[in-house]
Amino acid sequence: MTNDMTQDILYTIKNPRVTFRQRLKDMAKIAENSVELVRYTEKSREYFENGAMMDMFEGKTPYRTRYCVPDYELFLRQGSKFLMLEPPKDIWDAVGNLLCLYHNIPADGGLPVYIGCLDELLEPFVREEAEAEKAIRFLLTHVDRTISNAFCHANLGPRDSKAGRIILKLTAEMQRPCPNMTLLYREDTPDDYLRAALDTAMTAAKPSFANDALYRKDMGNYAVVSCYNVLPIGGCGLTLVRLNMHKLPELAESPEDLLDRVIPDAVTAVCDAIDSRCEFIVDDCSYYENTFLYDEGLIKKDRDHMIGMFGFVGLAECVNGVLGLHRPEERFGKGKEADAFGEKIMRRLREEIDKRPCRYGKYGLHAQVGVMEDSGGTPGGRIPIGEEPELPFQIMNFIRMHQDCDAGCGELFPFEETVKRNPQYLADIMKGAFRSGARYLSFYGSDSDLVRVTGYLVKKSDIEKFRNNEATLNEATVNGSEVHRNLHLLDRKVRGEAKE
């Protein structure tokens, strides 16, 4: 966005590639960014200026949290005084009540990034399956057409359920990017249910899979929201400030200097910025007191439910840069020394974050996937596209670099057609990865129209429309079209070798 507000407004109101709702949202962002009232520290300003830190275009005057994760279960149990809703008696009431709340979520973008653990919320209301399918189709269609944002995320519980099966079936059938979807996988998730979910993933690029045991240990009763952010249910991700690790080699004189001086310094800069933004949201704007969600107990204002998200990208470039690695076999992802140094950086980062007292709630470490303006940093601690080693080594590397990412991380793998006939193949990989400590995995069929762009879904056909100056319903297409050009996403290594 340019500094000339008139230009920005004219561009926004004339832009042929956005819908009316997207236009309204862009106009609100211009208004918000016309004043800057957050009080940043000197250290934060230094890091914004040297490019090693970024505010994710979250807005210069944040009057709401980035992510809001209401306790939908409580909401269905008690109804809502403010929304004048009784607790639901049947599945249509339940769906209706949920939709009312979705349109009243006070978070960035004005739309929910989390719409609940749908199968668990709706299973108690499933009586007759055909009726339930009709109601769930109504819900999913409404969400897709009105929320229209692939950052909107539904969860599925670890247990097999009628509602879960219906959602998987409809998801495969509808082939829409919204809502994004994650199944919270546990060791006792039945194989048969897992295979049904993997079947759906191969045709619709969702659900993804979260390691329930690991995240529950870190976050308690949690939800996967937006791309794959992990937050406590009844909580908020107040803000996300990102460390651009690919810029750190410019600040470090040696590998030791990076670990001993630059990382502690950078952690101060990022945590300061998180605190400053939280201060504005929580104290200056009285975010909690100004929403009925807080009054009705659907979100909580306490240490365990307020998360300041510490994001990072570009670990690979940081390692290669600081160690001066050029030959393919010695670079991050393949070289032993490089990978060991990468792990050391991550450990150091977490150690410094844990040392620092948090002014609002607590800090969560999040492997960020990138935004459309990015070109220099690989998402989180992933291996750059084109440099991936064989799949088992890529998975082990992913596990190793993201051990401390309690607020979410993800890795994604496109698979060939042949894999569709053998869902147990993916089940074996997934279970092995989770037992080895992986937090989150996404799979998709390399030939499907729905593709995963860093963490959310877009339709290849929508990207084409966007490039041809046509509007598409999914807001994420706007991000996706540029992200995938800059990050070469369609060049990802396709897995599942065919053999005669």
């Binding site: 064989e390 799949l391 088992p392 080594f393 998975i395 082990m396 698979f415 060939e416 042949t418 894999v419 006939r421 053998n422 147990q424 193949y425 993916l426 089940a427 074996d428 990989i429 092995g432 990865a433 037992r435 080895s436 897995r495 599942g496 070798e497 065919a498 053999k499 005669e500």
Partner: protein, 285 residues
């Protein structure tokens, strides 16, 4: 590469494979085959290298060298320099490959162990892996010790039913049925039909048969006869799959490129035939 005692010639190891048996498997391809099928899709796995050196000159990456040890000349292959362009394979006039590593079971095990958290087990293939039964028995034993399964992908020419040590460590076999009559089988593979049929029967009885597979090649053999025979052999075992594989031009020798690929309809008809004859699970690929 020079062959030493206790080793087998490894042509290739694929860490994760979705098409070599149940779930995710590490596939290990051994060099050398006792059949010579007209349409072979990887003819470079048929013969051992005869050290003629033609590929040494052709290699653009300098990954292949002539070497000599104990008076024996052989082609040495350096996997770290290889760019996988397969020029050597195209150059070879002997249906062989210089990209062979002679490895002991322990060496193979060391290389594949990092894949074990993610796989159901391993599958050995070829070439014809049962030409190296002692090696397989040792490797499978090591694999079983780690709690994983061992499958053999075979053309069935080596009698397996009397190889007790081997069978003790083998979970499943996957056996080719290339033709339905003795005449067709000899024409196509150069070998008889008896052993594959006997192996299929015996392995099915032992519960050690995962699937049989038939490559459907129009005009060369009577495909209906093949499927009729195959179905009759496995109809009584509902857990055994029948895999019908479309003949494809990818990888075959130039002189067989004029054989037509079968149509989808032809494949479906053969699938229906197998189903009618009592086969429960049919995979067409």
């Amino acid at each position: 590469m020079r062959k030493t005692a206790g080793t087998a010639p490894v042509n290739k190891i694929i860490s994760f494979s979705a098409v070599d048996g149940f779930g995710n498997r590490t596939a290990i391809f051994l060099q050398g085959c006792n059949q010579n099928c007209l349409y072979c899709h990887n003819p470079e796995t048929i013969h051992p290298c005869r050290a003629c050196g033609a590929c040494v000159e052709a290699c653009p990456a300098g990954a292949i060298q002539m070497a000599e040890e104990a008076g024996e000349r052989y082609v040495a292959y350096d996997i770290s320099k290889c760019c996988n362009c397969d020029t050597c394979i195209r150059t070879c006039g002997n249906s062989a490959s210089p990209k062979i590593r002679n490895m002991t079971a322990e060496e193979v095990m060391e290389e594949i162990l990092p894949y074990f958290p993610f796989i159901d087990g391993i599958t050995t293939s070829g070439g014809e892996c049962t030409l190296h039964l002692d090696f397989l028995t040792e490797l499978y034993g090591l694999v079983k010790k780690e709690g994983k399964t061992a499958y053999a992908d075979t053309n069935g020419q080596v009698p397996l039913w009397n190889k007790e040590d081997f069978l003790r460590v083998t979970d499943k076999t996957m056996i080719d049925l290339k033709a339905g009559t003795e005449k067709d089988h000899r024409k196509l593979t150069g070998m008889g039909l008896h052993n594959p049929v006997e192996n299929i029967k015996r392995m099915a009885e032992l519960g050690k048969l995962y699937e049989i597979r038939t490559v459907v090649v129009p005009g060369v053999v009577d495909n209906r006869r093949t499927v009729e025979l195959g179905s009759s052999l496995i109809a009584a075992c509902p857990e055994v799959r029948y895999k019908l594989i479309k003949f494809r031009h990818f990888g075959v020798r130039e002189e067989y490129l004029n054989i037509p690929e079968p149509s989808d309809q032809e494949m479906e008809e053969l699938g229906d035939l197998a189903r009618k004859n009592g086969v429960r699970e049919i995979v067409i690929t």
